[in-house]
Symmetry: C2
Subunit: 312 residues, 2 copies
């Protein structure tokens, strides 16, 4: 098998593009795809300070490496969720890479910041764990980016993630979400930082190959709290179809992105945002979901303390 680009011996094949690459040309391919994605959606320029959310998983670690190699102004931020062994391994991978490459890294320990680790929050909030976790992460990342003057927040979401999200929204016909899913969500209200996904054209498998070839440390465990996440089922389902008919996920996502305006046109006026009465961050309600969640957790804690007191 020869490399499609340089004709050297290829080490891997990307079926949906009908190409094979040697190591050097594969790294170039990953970089080129990232550059094209950034350019297509005008995600950010080389001069802009970018905040990169790194979970410690393969995708965000790979994006950290690619953006750094491409000469972008990246500051990484890691949220230590306090999910015992899983969070320890994630933090180790993130810190190891930052030290090896001498890169700026911010670590926020959620337990210290909010008074609760994710597992503690989960026990107090009657919502699916991934929904609580998503809300906390979105809030803290946007909050940090805004207050530290980053104009853009980037995540490692890839083609498989985006196709799975799209499938989930289609199966439930969530029209509002179908109108807005995008690799680039603009900042359309003060306090809401632009969100971008420069890896939306790359698959799980391609990114895994990249971190393996580049010997980038990463945490390869699945979060123990997310093992029943429906997004994993959507990915599994799409992979079954992809196996027999490669390119399905690619077409499903890319055709949607090209035709979204015509497939799912906006029918209602955009939601009106205002500032949360408690924290001042943007929200559609009087008080934002994050403040409400935190208040619920705090009030349940006080109840528990009260209960313990009575029992003494």
């Amino acid at each position: 098998m020869k490399c499609t680009a340089c004709k050297d011996e290829a080490i891997l094949r990307i079926k949906r593009h009908h190409v094979a690459f040697c190591q050097r040309c594969f790294i170039k391919f990953i970089q080129k795809q990232t550059i094209q994605a950034i350019k297509k959606y005008q995600m950010f320029s080389k001069k802009e300070p970018v905040l990169l959310a790194v979970s410690g998983g393969k995708d965000s670690m790979a994006l950290w490496s690619v953006l750094t190699d491409l000469g972008n102004q990246v500051t990484a931020i890691h949220l230590d969720l306090g999910i015992s062994n899983f969070s320890d391994k994630s933090l180790q991978a993130v810190q190891k890479f930052a030290e090896e490459k001498n890169l700026p890294l911010v670590v926020i320990h959620v337990k210290e910041h909010l008074g609760f680790s994710l597992p503690e929050l989960q026990k107090k909030i009657p919502r699916p764990t991934c929904s609580v976790c998503g809300l906390v992460k979105r809030y803290l990342l946007n909050h940090y980016a805004f207050h530290h003057h980053f104009s853009v927040l980037t995540t490692g979401h890839n083609l498989d993630d985006e196709a799975a999200t799209l499938l989930g929204n289609i199966l439930r016909w969530r029209e509002e979400y179908l109108q807005h899913q995008s690799p680039c969500l603009p900042s359309d209200y003060p306090g809401l930082v632009k969100k971008v996904k420069p890896f939306y054209t790359l698959t799980d498998q391609e990114i895994l190959w990249y971190v393996q070839q580049m010997k980038i440390p990463f945490c390869d465990s699945i979060c123990p709290l997310s093992q029943k996440a429906s997004s994993l089922d959507f990915k599994k389902a799409l992979n079954i179809i992809e196996e027999q008919s490669f390119g399905t996920k690619h077409y499903f996502l890319f055709h949607y992105l090209e035709k979204k305006q015509s497939l799912f046109p906006e029918k209602q006026p955009k939601v009106v945002l205002n500032n949360c009465s408690s924290c001042g961050m943007p929200t559609t309600q009087e008080r934002c979901s994050f403040c409400t969640l935190l208040e619920t957790a705090q009030s349940k804690s006080q109840l528990c303390i009260g209960k313990d007191d009575n029992e003494l």
Copy 2:
């Protein structure tokens, strides 16, 4: 576990409806669902002569039983495709049920009718097998229904089939198909018989239970020529998601059917039909796909005969 309807001992549970049934109430449930589907889409009345396509599989055999028990005027038609053992088993099931219940049955042997069995056609036509088979079946069934004055042709397609078709059309964003998928396709051109699917609200599992409870003979093998059919992958994919989140297929299909006009409105004028220059049946082309297919198969046969002659 108690029967939701009569409080006797239940023998099965239908999770997506949050009900459990004894045998008697389950049979009633299947009948009621069928009656409601027929009524909702005004599929046919009790007086109308209905042509029912019976493959010998569980769905069409179950529909034959239900429609007969409900007192409809049903004539069954079976296409013997000539797929060796599979077709033999299918024909046996169909004939057995017709004899046991003394029901009208038409059998068309495709090889006698067209000069080719399905496997013979498959070898001569450079198209996926299921696509050739679908075209032949649609043509022959519609042709028979029209020329024998049936105003409606019914098939056993169920909720799983329809959800799988919908998923396939969504993954490829086939807008024209997305505009038209329906449990009831009207006759909007002379020669095009109305097509209906009275089982579109019932799942594979529910219909399997029904044929088992009713001891209806059926062929439970998968067609050996369709084992790579993408529809099977779509079903598998949806079942993975359903397993963790029951009701997904139900909502996916039913919400689409309710909102189709608003989700995928017709953007272009309807295709114009005319009569095939060869057989006179409706087509969008000058000559219909069926006549073209048959001509291709015949010309390839003649070429083969010629070749053999030369070789002698």
